[in-house]
Subunit: 147 residues, 2 copies
């Protein structure tokens, strides 16, 4: 017998992503990585090419939150979830708003994909991929994309 | 009973990714999308934010191959596969080499994640995410990253 029905697994993944949204809005880096595997492999928006480990992801989260002055708005749009018994992934469009400590207004969309594995009964994010596409003519990413 | 053991599913995903490598080396866009779902959602290296459908992915592949003069080298390094019975994903570092029709030498690494769903017994790529990270100071992606 499967540990959970596909519908239940999808609901569990959606709940984890909802907690991610709440963690960003609370600027809480520990909560941001509350469902990551220790060995997570992250392909982040920013350099380098990849990095590994939950501590690095948490530190990156802290830097991200520290860059904002006051509250951060955060939402995920068009979240699609594919979940089996022990492996799942999801993808969606992430949107952050706020003002940086340098006084820059941020209203930015990007794409993100999360990969999950059930470990000791609990879903863990084992892989994360966030990015902004670039323009071949300039080599620059675009910060004013909208879905 | 599961349709296939996890080991068998992983081998099937690795075989599909090996066929992807062969398709790029052959500059064969039809073969490149030979295992995509009709409704695939693609987050590509280049703008826009996302696009959908196997025809768009094939056309993007044709443009990519047409940009090269002569042979393309292609490999995937550090491919990690997570496969259950009907849902799987993989991630790895992709490397292309060659010379563009404009005479530019390309030797470029990027990150890619593929999401799979078993449909009518066959694995299909339902989601694809490829990207190059950028430098916050310049807003530019880096074309000379190495693993």
């Amino acid at each position: 017998m499967a540990l959970s029905s596909p519908g239940k697994a999808e609901a569990e993944i959606r709940a984890i992503m909802a907690r991610r949204v709440a963690a960003v809005r609370a600027k809480d880096a520990a909560e941001l990585v509350g469902h990551h595997a220790a060995s997570v492999v992250s392909y982040d928006l920013l350099l380098p090419l990849r990095y590994g480990g939950v501590d690095a992801v948490r530190q990156r989260g802290e830097q991200w939150f520290d860059g904002y002055d006051g509250p951060m708005g955060y939402e995920i749009q068009d979240l699609q979830v594919y979940a089996d018994t022990d492996v799942a992934f999801c993808h969606g469009l992430h949107h952050v708003t706020g003002t940086t400590k340098a006084g820059r207004k941020i209203d930015m969309w990007w794409r993100a994909t999360q990969g999950f594995q059930r470990m000791d009964g609990a879903w863990r994010i084992v892989h994360e991929h966030g990015s902004v596409p670039f323009d071949m003519a300039t080599g620059k990413v675009s910060f004013n994309l909208e879905p």
